[in-house]
């Protein structure tokens, strides 16, 4: 079974995100960059499924050569090979989905696994758009994935409980937090990763129209919260919650 897993380079979730002085974007100098945590869960899931069913795990990223670091991390976890679609321009989710559709056409995976969202733009769109462009079924926000030769049965996180859907293969799965706990790369894994194949493709060679359907016009920081007050004891707290905040 062949798995294609997307890997996005994003700001560390522990990093303090600040706007540049000219508000053109966020400050990235000195900010640690990581593999999107939901993508890391995706890589882990593909590896576990491969351990059960055999096959190949291919990871793909779209971005500058900086993203090689995150692809190597995925290879160090155990992925077999990597593809980097080189691009330094702005993309929206629709553009990302169109690019991935081209990679899917080249690679013919049985299952595409993506993070449910990237923790930078938080859009939560690309996988679903990709599924529709391909005419495939989708199982978003996966909690448990069970594969057989023809289908994927996925328990997924829905509001108020777990919903189970069944998709014909090939299909798209997006990961939620509880799906698994990603492994740490071992030292031999890291050494091996350096020699695993990593193909670089120029975006222009794919012939995809990535004209923006959604443009980010401005960034701002959310209104700062009013400074709160310290209370000396529980009695004062309860009294203020009752009379001032009317919260209890």
């Amino acid at each position: 079974m062949k798995f294609l897993v997307t890997v996005k380079r994003v700001t560390d979730y522990e990093a303090k995100i600040k706007l540049k002085a000219d508000k053109s974007g966020i400050v990235t100098d000195g900010v640690n960059m990581i593999m999107n945590p939901f993508d890391e869960i995706g890589v882990e899931e593909a590896l576990r499924q491969k351990e059960k069913h055999g096959g190949e795990v291919v990871v793909v990223s779209i971005g500058t050569t900086d993203s090689v670091a995150q692809l190597r991390s995925a290879l160090a976890m155990g992925a077999d090979r990597a593809i980097l679609v080189k691009n330094d321009g702005e993309l929206d989710s629709f553009g990302v989905a169109k690019i991935l559709a081209k990679i899917v056409a080249k690679e013919s995976p049985d299952v595409v696994i993506m993070g449910k969202q990237a923790i930078d733009d938080d859009s939560n769109q690309a996988a679903q758009i990709l599924a529709e462009l391909l005419g495939w079924g989708q199982a978003t926000f996966a909690n448990v994935v069970t594969l057989d030769a023809r289908s994927a049965t996925v328990a997924r996180e829905a509001d108020g409980g777990l919903e189970t859907v069944k998709c014909d293969l090939p299909c798209i799965i997006t990961t939620d937090l509880r799906l698994n706990e990603p492994r740490y790369a071992s030292l031999p894994g890291i050494m091996k990763a350096k020699k695993k194949p990593l193909d670089e493709i120029e975006l222009s060679s794919l012939g995809v129209d990535t004209a923006l359907k959604v443009k980010v016009k401005a960034f701002e920081e959310p209104a700062a919260k009013q400074a709160g007050q310290k209370v000396p004891d529980v009695a004062t707290l309860v009294q203020k919650l009752k009379t001032e905040a009317k919260a209890i």
């Binding site: 979730y13 522990e14 995100i17 966020i26 989710s93 629709f94 989905a97 930078d120 938080d122 859009s123 939560n124 769109q125 690309a126 996988a127 679903q128 758009i129 529709e132 462009l133 005419g135 495939w136 079924g137 989708q138 199982a139 978003t140 926000f141 049965t153 328990a155 829905a158 509001d159 108020g160 409980g161 777990l162 189970t164 859907v165 069944k166 998709c167 014909d168 509880r178 359907k213 959604v214 443009k215 980010v216 016009k217 701002e220 920081e221 959310p222 919260k225 009013q226 709160g228 007050q229 310290k230 209370v231 004891d233 529980v234 707290l237 919650l241 009752k242 905040a245 919260a247 209890i248």
Partner: protein
């Protein structure tokens, strides 16, 4: 003029109230409001929505009896085309997030996710980086698809009841199907729509602390229980209790953070709360910067005291 199509979400024969947040957002753009209810036997849901729309369209078919993204997206896109909708809206609930991007793909439309404000008919504000940054985004396509963060839009007042009519419904061939739904049975409210949330962090010291300190306080307040990423990662509590960027984003009336230091990723998930209380023994803990009321104290003393005081006040 704008023609809005609101995709109704319903469960157990009832309208999911978050749908009304999408109506409220569409009203800010102005224009005619239509709503679409998909399923089988949805007359009651359509009637619930009628006071908020000029026309409520029902699309009924055995193939869309249960919700599944692929067939539902087709039915929504077909309806949008036949009505000439300029804007297709839904609440950014689990279902809205699952289905609406597929609708955008079918309509070759741009989509803005989880918006927090309407700027104009094509421009919206939305939280990015877990709400640390607010982006203003413009959808450049003629048809626009938008999901709305329910906590940011108050439900509109009911108006005169609009028409309810049925429309053609062809779910097409689907490569996916709904199998089953297992509802979480709990006496506690769900995190995502709780009025009060009590959250515990590393300061609680272990799963035992959640049982002896957090749970009684939550019981006294009728609250849902949340947690920081650190304690979920440590396995003290289930992962779906996690509040934060990689967990759930919540905005209750009252959020009580107990033994939580206030890491950026946690604060991102709860700073929209109306009233925030923090109990932490560390006076310099960053949680105090976002708390409306901060109590510097040993939580093992203060939290039970608070529990008792709230019980006594009832």
């Amino acid at each position: 003029m704008a023609l809005h199509l609101i995709v109704a979400e319903h469960t157990g024969g009832k309208l999911v109230k978050a749908t009304l947040a999408a109506v409220a957002a569409a009203q800010k753009v102005g224009g005619d409001i239509h709503a679409l209810v998909i399923g089988q036997g949805v007359a009651a849901v359509a009637a619930e929505l009628a006071p908020y729309a000029k026309t409520v369209h029902t699309a009924e078919h055995a193939g869309v009896k249960d919700r599944a993204a692929q067939p539902h997206a087709k039915v929504i896109a077909d309806a949008a085309k036949s009505l000439g909708a300029t804007h297709i809206w839904a609440a950014s609930t689990g279902a809205g997030k699952d289905i609406l991007p597929r609708v955008a793909a079918r309509l070759d439309a741009g989509m803005a996710s989880d918006i927090s404000a309407v700027v104009s008919d094509n421009t919206f504000k939305r939280p990015m980086w877990a709400g640390n940054i607010i982006g203003t985004v413009e959808i450049t396509t003629a048809t626009k698809v938008i999901t709305v963060r329910p906590t940011e839009f108050a439900p509109p007042a009911a108006g005169a009841a609009g028409n309810v009519t049925s429309m053609a419904c062809d779910p097409g061939t689907s490569k996916m199907q709904f199998v089953s739904f297992d509802a979480v049975v709990s006496d506690r409210p769900a995190l995502s729509d709780a009025r009060v949330i009590v959250s515990g962090g590393r300061g609680v010291k272990g799963p035992e602390g959640f049982k002896t300190v957090i749970e009684p306080l939550a019981d006294a307040l009728g609250a849902a229980i949340g947690a920081s990423r650190a304690v979920c990662d440590a396995g003290w509590v289930p992962n779906d209790w996690q509040v934060g960027q990689t967990g759930k984003v919540v905005a209750p009336e009252l959020y009580v953070a107990v033994g939580i230091s206030g890491a950026i990723q946690h604060v991102a998930g709860m700073k929209g709360s109306k009233c925030i209380v923090a109990i932490n023994k560390e006076p310099e803990a960053p949680i105090f910067q976002v708390a409306d009321y901060g109590l510097v104290a040993d939580l093992f003393k203060a939290a039970p005291e608070l529990t008792a005081a709230i019980k006594a006040a009832k």
